[in-house]
C-alpha cells in the first residue's frame, strides 16, 4: 500500500514537471537558455498577433524621457543617459517634479537672468535636458500631466535645473525659455516629491573614481577659443575620460524581402501598381496621388503628389501631440512590415512648417544616438533615421533609412574629448557660431562598410545636423 502511494506521488511530480517544462519550451524557452534549439510556439507568426498586445512603443516611451540628466553634488558633475542603470530611477524622480510643476502650478516665481540660471548648476542640483524643445502644454501632455499653466511667459522648454532644498518634498526648479534665454525659478512642493539633497552625492560618487565631467562654463575657458571665430556653449560637457565602446553593425531589414507588405502600409495596392526601376537602382511605385521609392540600400521615400491626399492620420482638430503620436504609430507600422524587432528610435525634433509639421526621429543603440547622413544621387539628403512631414492631418512626405543595428564582435576606444574639440574647432575655425553639443555616438553615412565605430558627434548653432568626427 505504501509502495503504491510512493509510485503515485512520483508520477504526479513527473506529470507536473512535464507540464511545467512543456509550457516553458513552447511559450517561454527562457528557462532553457537563449540557445534552445527546438520549436517554440512563440516563434509562430500567429503568436505575434497576441504578443502585440503587450507591445511597448519605444519612441513614445522615450518621448517623456530626458536626453540626459546631469547630477551635481556641489563639486562634481556626472551625466546619466538613457542606457545607464540609474537613469530610470533618476528620471522617475525628475518626472514627479516636472509633473508637479506643470500640473499643480508653481507657488513662487522669480525672474533671473541667464548668468544667474547657469550659476545654479554649480550648486547641488540636477540638470535635465529634453531631446526636443517643448511648448509647456505639450510637455505636460507628454508627461501625462494636467497642464494648468506656468505663471510666467515661458514659451518653450528644453532644459531645467532642479535644486533640492532642506525639505525633501520641496524643490526649486529653474526653467529657462529656450528661445529668449530668460529664466524663472519656481518652488514646487508636494508629498509625492522625494528629493533629498544627500541623494546627489550617491549619484556622483559612482563615477568619481573614473574621472568626471564638467560644464564648459565651469572650466573658466570662456566662450572664445583663442583666435577662432567658433565658440563653445556653456553647456557642453568636458571630460578627460577615455572609454571603450562596442562597435555596432547595421543591416537593411528589407534585404531579401518583397516590397508588398511595405507598400500596403502606404495604402498602395501591390497588384495593379505602376512600377519602373530608375537609373539609381531604385524601385519606383506610382499610384494616382503618391509615389513610393525604395532604394536597395534601405532608403525609402513616400511622397504625396497631391498634398491634399496624403496618408490620413485620423486626428480630429489641431492637436500637435496627437498628430505626433499617430505619426509615430505610422512609423512603427512601416517598421513592422519589414522587421519583427521593436523600432528603436527617439523623437529628436518637432518643427512647425508653413503648411504643417515636420517630425524627425533618430536611431539609437545602447542609449547612444546614431546620427544618419545619407547623401546619394537620386534623392534628397537625409539627416535622420526618419523624417515625416504632415499637412493638416495627413502625411505628405515620409522618408526613412531602414536599418537594424546589432552589437558587433569588435570594440573601439573612444578618442578623448579634447581631441574631438580640436578637430571640430579646426573644421569650423573660420565660421562664426557656437558648438552647442559634443557627445559620443555612432555615425551611419550609408556606406558599404556596415560596422559603425564609436565617434564624437557635434551639434552647431542648435541646428538639427550632427557632424561626426571623421
Amino acid at each position: 500500500m505504501f509502495k503504491e502511494k510512493v509510485k503515485t506521488s512520483i508520477i504526479i511530480v513527473l506529470i507536473i514537471n512535464l507540464v511545467f517544462l512543456t509550457y516553458h519550451s513552447w511559450f517561454k524557452s527562457g528557462i532553457l537558455g537563449s540557445d534552445w534549439p527546438y520549436f517554440s510556439l512563440s516563434d509562430l507568426p500567429v503568436a505575434r498577433l497576441f504578443q502585440r498586445n503587450s507591445f511597448v512603443s519605444v519612441p513614445k516611451e522615450n518621448l517623456s524621457k530626458p536626453r540626459k540628466i546631469v547630477v551635481n553634488d556641489g563639486e562634481l558633475w556626472v551625466p546619466y543617459y538613457n542606457s545607464d542603470d540609474a537613469f530610470d530611477r533618476l528620471d522617475e524622480n525628475v518626472e514627479v517634479v516636472m509633473k508637479c510643476l506643470l500640473d499643480k502650478g508653481a507657488k513662487e516665481e522669480e525672474k533671473i537672468n541667464y548668468t544667474e540660471w547657469i550659476n545654479l548648476l554649480t550648486q547641488k542640483s540636477v540638470y535635465v535636458e529634453y531631446p526636443i524643445t517643448f511648448e509647456p502644454r505639450m510637455l505636460a501632455m507628454v508627461l501625462n500631466a494636467d497642464f494648468e499653466k506656468l505663471p510666467s511667459g515661458i514659451s518653450v522648454i528644453n532644459d531645467v535645473i532642479i535644486i533640492p532644498t532642506e525639505e525633501d518634498n520641496r524643490v526649486q526648479v529653474a526653467v529657462r525659455d529656450a528661445v529668449t534665454n530668460e529664466a524663472y525659478t519656481f518652488i514646487v512642493e508636494d508629498d509625492t516629491i522625494s528629493f533629498p539633497q544627500e541623494v546627489l552625492a550617491m549619484y556622483t560618487d559612482k563615477y568619481s573614481r573614473d574621472g568626471y565631467y564638467e560644464f564648459a562654463f565651469n572650466t573658466l575657458i570662456g566662450e572664445g577659443l583663442g583666435e577662432n571665430k567658433i565658440k563653445v556653449s556653456d553647456l557642453v560637457l568636458f571630460s578627460d575620460n577615455e572609454s571603450v565602446y562596442r562597435d555596432i553593425k547595421g543591416t537593411n531589414p528589407l534585404t531579401g524581402k518583397g516590397h508588398e507588405k511595405l507598400l500596403e502600409t502606404f495604402s498602395f495596392n501591390p497588384k495593379p501598381l505602376r512600377y519602373y526601376p530608375d537609373a539609381f537602382g531604385a524601385d519606383n511605385y506610382v499610384e494616382n496621388y503618391a509615389t513610393v521609392t525604395i532604394f536597395p540600400d534601405g532608403y525609402i521615400e513616400y511622397s504625396a503628389v497631391d498634398q491634399e491626399k496624403g496618408i490620413d492620420l485620423d486626428v480630429g482638430g489641431e492637436n500637435e501631440y496627437e498628430l505626433l503620436n499617430r505619426a509615430i504609430d505610422f512609423a512603427e507600422k512601416v517598421w513592422a512590415s519589414v522587421s519583427n524587432e521593436p523600432l528603436e528610435v527617439l523623437v529628436s525634433g518637432i518643427e512647425r512648417t508653413e503648411e504643417g509639421n515636420r517630425f524627425v526621429l533618430d536611431y539609437y543603440y545602447g542609449g547612444r544616438e546614431i546620427a544618419v547622413e545619407i547623401s546619394k544621387e537620386g534623392r534628397e539628403k537625409l539627416y535622420h533615421a526618419i523624417e515625416i512631414e504632415t499637412k493638416g492631418n495627413k502625411i505628405v512626405l515620409y522618408r526613412q533609412y531602414l536599418r537594424s543595428y546589432t552589437e558587433a564582435d569588435t570594440a573601439t576606444s573612444q578618442e578623448s574629448f579634447m581631441l574631438a574639440l580640436d578637430y571640430f574647432v579646426g573644421q569650423f575655425a573660420s565660421e562664426y557660431g557656437v558648438i552647442t553639443d559634443l557627445y559620443p555616438g555612432y555615425f551611419d553615412s550609408g556606406s558599404e562598410e556596415d560596422i559603425l565605430k564609436t565617434t564624437w558627434l557635434c551639434e552647431k548653432n542648435n541646428s538639427e545636423e550632427r557632424y561626426p568626427k571623421r
Partner: protein, 159 residues
Amino acid sequence: MRKSIISVLLVFVFIMTASLSVFAHPATLADGRESTASNLITIKKPDTASTSTVKTTYSVTGVGKEGVSICIYTYNGSEYVPQKDESGAVATYTIGSSGVFYRQIALKEGENRICVRAEADNGSYQLSYLTITVVNSSVMSDISSFSLNMQSKLNGWLN
C-alpha cells in the same frame, strides 16, 4: 656610394632624434625653477595661484598657442614629478586647434603643490605654480554613516 648611404642614414637618425627631443619634459623639476617664456599659456582654472576644493579630483584648464606641449607636475616634498599615463610614461598634452587645454588631476587631502609646464617647439618653457588644498575628504564617509532612517528617506532612490 656606401659613404653616401651611411651619411643619409646618419642624417635621418639625427633628424629623428632631434624631433624626439622636442617637448621632452624633464623627469623632475627643482622647486623654484624659473620660466624662460611667459606667453605660452594662460591658466584659466584655478583662477588664482592658490585655491581649495573638497574633492580629490580637480581640472586644470587654460588657453595657449597651438603646438605648445603641456605637462603637469606634482610636488612630492623635495621636487616636482610629472604625471604618468596608464602605461607609466610621462603624460603630456599638446594644445590643438581649439587653443585650449583641459587636464584632470588627482589630489591628496591637504595641500597639493602643482606645476604646469608648457614648452614651445623652440625649447622655451613656462612654469605656472599652483597650490590646491583639499579641505575635506570625499562625501563617501557621509554616505556610509547613513542610518536606517536615512535609508527610508531615500526610498525611491535606492535599488
